[in-house]
């Protein structure tokens, strides 16, 4: 058995994966540097440096050998943060290099199926968050949104909001991972280890607007059709903390 240590990023993982496949290791183990409890094994692991070029070369090779949609499946699935994701994707990638483009139709194969499911789940959550992000106006013009998604979806939704609210600086803050996508009206970047020193102070207009929206939202339900169970299925309770329309205060 061989252990590879990488920095926890997708690019880092691709570097580790590509090295491990080149060394044809049977049952490798991947250690993520951001997980402190793993430090016990650190001495035994090979540290793989993150190198954008290697990651990119892997992407191109995989897309050419299998398909670009299979690569995108791999990328989405990685962000599920499933406890065994590195091993699952290693199996997926290895199988992909063996079978080539046929991998795409091997949905009934266990190894493909699980990765495909995870990828779809992440893509689904990313789509939902295109709707669930709620920007709140902090200072003159600056917009702040907090989210706590199950999967690490911020990089999938940030480009959407660049298109959407391109005329204002904004920040989408993943509180669960202390990461944020920050946009300065030109480009967006991902910042890590971001926590707010104090809760954001919203503008006067923000309170008025949120209040109007809340009232509108409540009034729009048709009494004779009230169905809280259905509503809860569609807007899970854990999402509501960040949705102004569910804010009871």
């Amino acid at each position: 058995m061989r252990r590879y240590r990488y920095d926890g990023s997708f690019e880092g993982y691709l570097c580790a994966l590509s090295r491990c496949l080149a060394e044809s290791v049977e049952s490798p183990e991947f250690l993520c540097e951001t997980l402190p409890e793993m430090s016990l094994f650190h001495e035994l692991a090979v540290t793989v440096e993150t190198d954008g070029e290697i990651a990119n070369a892997f992407r191109q090779l995989f897309a050419a050998t299998v398909s670009s949609s299979a690569f995108s499946t791999l990328r989405y699935a990685f962000c599920s943060e499933h406890i065994e994701i590195e091993r699952l994707l290693w199996e997926y990638a290895r199988l992909g290099f063996e079978t080539g483009p046929r991998l795409g139709s091997m949905l009934a194969d266990k190894r493909v199926n699980i990765v495909d499911r995870l990828a779809r789940k992440v893509a689904g959550e990313a789509h939902r968050y295109k709707g669930f992000v709620r920007f709140r106006e902090v200072e003159e013009g600056f917009l702040y949104a907090s989210i706590e998604p199950e999967a690490d979806i911020i990089r999938f939704i940030a480009p959407h909001f660049v298109q959407r609210v391109g005329d204002r600086p904004w920040m989408i803050h993943d509180l669960r991972r202390s990461r944020a996508a920050v946009y300065d009206r030109k480009n967006w970047r991902l910042l890590v280890d971001i926590t707010l020193a104090e809760p954001p102070r919203f503008s006067e207009a923000e309170h008025e607007c949120a209040d109007l929206w809340r009232r509108y939202f409540r009034r729009l339900a048709i009494e004779a059709r009230i169905n809280p169970k259905l509503q809860q299925k569609l807007v899970p309770l854990r999402c509501r903390r960040h949705l102004v329309e569910f804010d009871e205060s």
């Binding site: 917009l143 004779a224 059709r225 169905n227 259905l230």
Partner: protein, 428 residues
């Protein structure tokens, strides 16, 4: 009229707008433009769901709830003694931009009661859309209601700004319209729909030739039917929808279970909105649009109404039991789509996965195909998964037997004679 606060008027007008079902923001794909704000995404995006489980995608609002018409089923009918109010076009623009920027909504769905005249009303709606597009450089979704009877020139202008346009038929037959909406002859609704369909088609053709050709409602037109206010049976409704899809290129027909909003004697007294019937109609509608069914396959003179116990595809399959079971490893896509319990996504995944390996029960489950109903209608690798004799009466009992959820059970009891509402109204 405008002495009420913005907040009061907003909620009053939301109240008046909420019976319009349509809220989709799909069908249009526009990238954000430099200097502008927003865009649309072709799949549509839902932003939240209200306590009745309906999605909010657009700011659905009326410009005014005053109306010169007196349609019995409508909450805004002129004879209804409710307070009337309005928002100014600028207020609506402002609200739309503020809500959009905070990502509460995908855009605006603007409707209104008819004020003074159809032309005047249409002009007000257009003013909102034009300001959004030209002054605010808003690229999000706009759904505009077209006022029946408005001038063609105005309709053309509306379609230049809107992604989607709609005129609600509301009542499925001429007789019902005459009775409940005496101010709106059927021609005044169908005629502009036909005109819209022509304009949408022409614009689409021209834009295929030149990207510079003006847009006209790129997300097409939709309409809405109220279900349960009048005695039409499901067959009349589904046949009408089929005609609208085929002949007018309608994008969507929405069905709205009738919620009594007045004690008008021409309307039936229902114990509650016929939600299950509405659900079955949507299922049948989906079969028309995505599953290759035609209305006469689902309903005919002998079966003028959808079975409330079973979904319409199951019902069809039991009446055509000789076509089953189908072998999942060989059946073509269209035949798979006709298997109860197999939806578009499952059928696609089956077709894809069987290229790589032979599918048995295990594989089907892994693909996420729900076998609860499908098992009675398929074989997998030659093996029949139903475990019972393939016999329609036997399957009917099995498929309807466990009334699992209490809620759906209640509804079965409420609408045993969904097609027999004439007995309630006594007038039609």
């Amino acid at each position: 009229m405008t002495t009420l606060s913005l907040e009061q008027r907003l909620t009053m007008l939301a109240d008046s707008a909420k019976y319009d079902v349509s809220c989709s923001s799909s069908g249009s794909n526009r990238k954000g433009a430099p200097g502008g704000i927003g865009g649309t995404s072709s799949g549509g995006i839902c932003h939240t769901w209200t306590a009745d489980g309906r999605c909010i995608s657009l700011l659905k609002i009326l410009l005014s709830n005053a109306c010169i018409y007196d349609c019995a089923y409508c909450v805004n009918r002129s004879s209804n003694p409710v307070p009337r109010t309005a928002l100014t076009p600028d207020e609506i623009v402002h609200l739309t931009m503020a809500f959009y920027r905070r990502n509460y909504i995908e855009g605006l769905f603007l409707s209104t009661g008819v004020i003074t005249s159809p032309d005047h009303t249409m002009e007000l709606l257009i003013r909102v859309a034009r300001t959004l597009r030209e002054i605010e450089r808003f690229n999000g979704y706009i759904h505009l209601k077209i006022v029946p009877g408005a001038d063609v020139g105005l309709i053309e202008e509306a379609g230049r700004y809107a992604d989607r346009v709609s005129i609600n038929i509301e009542l499925p037959s001429r007789r019902s319209l005459q009775l409940l909406a005496p101010d709106k002859p059927r021609e005044s609704i169908i005629e502009p729909m036909r005109r819209l369909s022509g304009l949408i088609e022409t614009a689409r053709r021209e834009r295929r030739q030149s990207r510079k050709a003006p847009r006209f409602a790129p997300a097409g037109q939709s309409t809405q039917l109220i279900v349960g206010a009048t005695p039409e049976n499901d067959r009349e409704i589904i046949t009408l929808s089929e005609g609208l899809y085929q002949r007018l290129g309608m994008k969507r027909v929405y069905y709205s279970a009738f919620v009594p909003v007045s004690g008008d004697s021409r309307l039936p007294a229902l114990p509650g909105p016929p939600l299950l019937r509405e659900h079955r109609l949507y299922q049948a509608d989906w079969l028309l649009r995505f599953y290759g069914f035609s209305s006469h396959e689902l309903l005919d003179e002998a079966h003028p109404n959808l079975d409330m116990r079973l979904d319409p595809k199951c019902d069809w399959a039991l009446r055509h039991i000789e076509r089953f079971p189908v072998e999942v490893n060989r059946a073509d896509y269209q035949a798979l789509l006709r298997v109860p319990g197999i939806g578009v996504r499952s059928a696609q995944r089956i077709v894809r996965a069987r290229r790589a390996c032979r599918l048995g029960e295990e594989e089907l489950k892994r693909l996420g195909v729900v076998l609860k109903r499908a098992r009675y209608f398929i074989t997998a690798g030659g093996r029949y998964l139903g475990g019972v004799r393939l016999d329609a009466p036997e399957l009917l009992t099995r498929l309807t037997a466990p009334a699992k959820r209490k809620a759906s059970h209640d509804q079965l009891e409420l609408f045993p004679a969904a097609g027999d509402i004439s007995a309630v109204t006594g007038e039609l």
